[in-house]
């Protein structure tokens, strides 16, 4: 059995899920902090 498709699949899963977590956390932080700053300016 060729092991490389399994190795590649494991790395793709790890990179995609970690990137997804960081992207979601960053987007939610930026959205919330922008809303707080805008409300403060009003």
């Amino acid at each position: 059995m060729n092991p490389w498709p399994f190795v590649a699949a494991a790395y793709v899963v790890a990179v995609c899920l970690t990137s997804g977590l960081l992207g979601w956390a960053f987007a939610s932080m930026r959205r919330a902090e922008t809303a707080a700053d805008e409300l403060k300016r009003k």
Partner: protein
């Protein structure tokens, strides 16, 4: 225990309460987020590249041993995440630390993500090595239970927050769920089934150094990324709370 003298009244108080003030916490969290992201990305990418290209295949597992560099850090972070939730729960229930509930809620999605990565990469490794995608083995089952505990914690925390609760039920759930951590750790000793025993301990490792060396890079790298994700979620929750408080004040005027 971290105790220090209070500046005015001379009362002793917990040093962790120095971060109880959100403004003071944010002064540290803002630069820490960027640094953790940069260091985490650099180390994780370097460790994964080294693990894929610079290490030799294992004499028994062959090339599939390379999954170790992502599977082990994700297992550690899945468990450490719940350790963080348990610490935040104690801090909330005993000392009523104002940021404890926020910290618990911020850590949970990161912990659930890494528990999922651990389960999926372990399953992918198991197919060519064990000949099966899944086995109801002690370690695999207790790790799956941890993933479901994370989902339960997130659902409970969301529901309690929507009802404007203090988060005490969620904190108790976080504390009770910590009983699963020693079960995961000792599962390979209690139930000797499919998952191999401990190969990396505090005193040493049974893995050869020529294979082991990229592992600290991915361990530290993914830990930094986990911390960055948790800090970003804490900053988001603090900003949302600020907006809610301001909107409430404006409505009362």
């Amino acid at each position: 225990m971290l105790w220090r003298k209070g500046s005015s009244a001379g009362h002793k108080r917990l040093a962790v309460h120095a971060f109880a003030n959100p403004a003071r916490f944010l002064r540290i969290a803002r630069p820490a987020t960027s640094w953790l992201l940069l260091v985490g990305l650099a180390l994780a990418v370097a460790g994964m590249a080294a693990g894929l290209t610079l290490t030799p295949p294992d004499y028994l597992q062959g090339e599939t041993v390379r999954i170790l560099y992502i599977h082990v850090p994700s297992a550690w972070l899945g468990m450490a995440g719940w350790g963080g939730i348990a610490a935040a729960s104690i801090s909330q229930l005993v000392w009523r630390h104002p940021l404890a509930a926020i910290a618990g809620r911020a850590v949970a999605p990161a912990g659930a993500t890494f528990a999922a990565i651990c389960l999926i990469t372990g399953s992918i490794w198991g197919r060519p090595t064990w000949g099966t995608w899944w086995e109801w083995d002690g370690r695999l089952t207790s790790m799956l239970v941890l993933f479901f505990l994370y989902l339960g914690y997130i659902a409970l925390a969301t529901a309690e927050r929507e009802r404007s609760g203090e988060g005490r039920v969620t904190a108790i759930f976080g504390l009770v769920g910590a009983i699963n951590l020693p079960i995961i750790h000792y599962s390979v000793l209690w139930w000797r089934t499919l998952h191999q025993g401990e190969s990396i301990g505090l005193t040493g490792s049974t893995i050869d150094n020529s294979i082991l060396w990229p592992l600290p890079l991915t361990m530290i790298g993914f830990t930094c990324l986990f911390a960055a994700a948790a800090l970003m979620r804490m900053r988001a929750e603090l900003a949302e709370a600020k907006v809610e408080a301001r909107v409430r004040r404006m409505a009362l005027k």
